[in-house]
């Protein structure tokens, strides 16, 4: 049974259809990449799935249960975590405290939440900044903090919104390794929105292509990227080299 199933999801903002009849399924433990030109509705779709805003129509099923329109904290408690495109740290706290909050909020009564948070921080590669305040952290660190918080929740499904954006190639590799490890070692299902084609090709088991709020196509990564419709949708966009 698919761990995440979306059917007919739609949302419009005063006449503009941001998400239009989007549906897909994700098997547990698989990685789905979501791509599409800017304005395709990817982040809105995440917001709808994660409960940040209610859809106009459609359904979201998590582990077989209908979670459509439930508030974000309920969905997070049900096992689906998400990161934000614009990093949203708890600005008054240190990195460690940020992740500790996530540990406290998540499942599993840890005997020592701070220790566990420190472990997650190491895993994500944020160790040097562990005790730093979040103010003034470089983008790469903030991105990892988003990831660390989401991972610390021990979710079954992880929605990642452009977690590689703003990172230079050398910074991307460790994050991609981490994502692979999360899937292979923890069995976490990943759905990630990404612009960087190399990452999408390398990580995804399957790819979903959105354009103008609708699903253009979906399938295996190499099929999808060769699809003329997909290429056309990206026409006018700066082509991203597959080996960057």
């Amino acid at each position: 049974m698919s761990i995440l199933r979306v059917e007919g999801l739609s949302k419009h903002f005063r006449g503009l259809k941001a998400v239009d009849d989007v549906g897909f399924e994700v098997e547990e433990g698989s990685i789905l990449g979501v791509i599409g030109p800017n304005g395709a509705g990817k982040t809105t779709m995440f917001n709808l799935i994660a409960g940040a805003m209610p859809p106009d129509s459609g359904r979201v099923f998590l582990k077989g249960q209908d979670v459509t329109g439930k508030p974000p904290h309920v969905i997070a408690q049900s096992g689906m975590a998400r990161t934000f495109q614009l990093m949203r740290p708890f600005y008054s706290m240190s990195v460690l405290d940020n992740v500790t909050i996530a540990v406290l909020a998540g499942k599993g009564g840890h005997a020592n939440p701070r220790d566990h948070a420190a472990e997650v921080i190491e895993t994500v590669g944020l160790g040097t900044w562990r005790d730093s305040p979040t103010e003034g952290l470089p983008t790469a660190a903030l991105k990892r903090l988003e990831l660390a918080r989401a991972v610390a929740l021990r979710p079954r499904v992880l929605l990642l919104d452009e977690v590689l954006a703003g990172l230079v190639p050398a910074e991307r590799a460790p994050v991609m390794e981490l994502l692979e490890r999360l899937r292979s070692e923890e069995g976490i299902t990943l759905v990630f929105v990404e612009h960087i084609m190399a990452a999408v090709m390398r990580l995804s088991d399957s790819v979903l292509v959105l354009n103008l709020g609708r699903v253009l196509t979906s399938g295996a990564p190499d099929e999808v990227t060769k699809d003329p419709r997909v290429i056309e949708a990206y026409l006018g966009e700066e082509p991203t080299r597959a080996d960057s």
Binding site: F13, T43, T44, M53, F84, Q85, R88, S92, D161
Partner: protein, 347 residues
């Protein structure tokens, strides 16, 4: 100072989530009139109609009910003027001016002083109070409030609270708590539709509507007004098209304060002149602004009438209680059913 999260929730959608009740309906032209008569406005009209009906049924005699309606509408015009100034300030500067009522009190005392020491006619003093309060508003925004811009909004709110306390208690110190009055020469009672009203009340009403109309025209028809509406609607965008937002902030605050000042002069023959009078109009203006939709100038005027009516009808429904009690009941009801106000939007 903590950064209180303003209410933009969904991040990075590219489509900004509507902040409730901050997009003013002013300037939306013909379309708004039709769209504005939406379900909530119609239900308010319905509630008012029912309230009026009940008033006639409950009152000892129909004349009392008519009297309440007439008095309510007359004072409602002034409430509307005061609230328009307050809501304009909110729409452009995003702050609630806690000192709005205090500014009204200052104008009230200026009028009193000019009338009692120089024997001027009360309404003539408006030629003094409006420019003076305009200047005061400008100075306060430029000199004090702008120093807290760029910091969390609470700082500015706290400053206006501080100003309100300084003014109100300063007036207390200077003038003492003895109630005074401003007589209107030639004041008499006039009959309207079977009820009576003081000439002073009618003139206050007329004056308020005239000034409200002027304000509305300035906002809709002048370049300045358009600039103000632009800053209210989209601050960053306004800057991009070359509007000097700093000047607009000062100007808007000054205009809003001038509205309070004008209202102060207009009501001087109607109310007891004491420092706490400002606080009274302050709290009423707050409720009116919430009812009309924060930032909505038309809503403020309409809300003024609604509150004026509610206040007076309240004397029939709740005899012996302060009329403000019914105002607060309306406030709580609005909070419960439609916090964004009549003309505000739900997110």
């Amino acid at each position: 100072m903590t950064n209180n999260q303003q209410s933009v929730s969904s991040s990075g959608t590219g489509v900004p989530e509507e902040d409730t009740a901050t997009v003013p309906a002013k300037g939306r032209g013909r379309r708004s009139l039709g769209a504005a008569l939406g379900r909530s406005q119609l239900s308010v009209v319905a509630v008012l109609a029912v309230a009026v009906l009940l008033a006639y049924l409950l009152a000892d005699s129909p004349v009392i009910a008519t009297q309440a309606i007439v008095t309510g509408l007359l004072i409602g015009g002034v409430y509307g003027l005061v609230a328009m100034g307050l809501t304009l300030i909110f729409g452009v500067l995003d702050i609630v001016n806690f000192a709005h009522g205090a500014f009204l009190a200052v104008a009230l005392f200026i009028t009193y002083w000019l009338v009692s020491s120089m024997g001027l006619h009360p309404y003539v003093t408006i030629l003094v109070t409006v420019p003076v309060m305009f200047a005061v508003g400008w100075a306060v925004q430029r000199g004090v409030l702008s120093g807290a811009m760029g910091k969390p909004l609470e700082n500015q709110l706290l400053i206006t609270l501080g100003i309100s306390l300084v003014i109100e208690n300063g007036l207390l110190l200077l003038f003492g708590a003895n109630p005074r009055s401003v007589p209107l020469p030639g004041d008499r009672t006039i009959g309207i539709l079977g009820a009576v009203a003081d000439l002073s009340r009618i003139l206050a009403f007329v004056g308020a509507l005239v000034l409200a109309g002027v304000l509305f025209l300035v906002l809709q028809r002048t370049r300045l007004g358009t600039a103000i509406r632009a800053v209210a609607a989209n601050n960053a965008g306004a800057q991009l098209v070359g509007i000097d937002t700093r000047r607009i902030y000062a100007l808007t605050f000054a205009i809003g304060t001038a509205c309070a000042g004008a209202a102060g002069t207009l009501v001087s023959p109607l109310v007891t002149v004491e420092p706490s009078t400002g606080a009274l109009f302050n709290i009423v203006a707050f409720v009116v602004v919430v009812i009309g939709g924060m930032g909505n100038v038309v809503g403020a005027l309409v809300g003024g009438f609604v509150i004026g009516l509610a206040e007076q009808l309240g004397t029939i429904f709740l005899p012996g209680q302060s009329p403000l009690l019914s105002v607060f009941i309306v406030f709580v009801l609005v909070l419960f059913f439609r916090p964004q106000g009549l003309f505000g939007r739900t997110s």
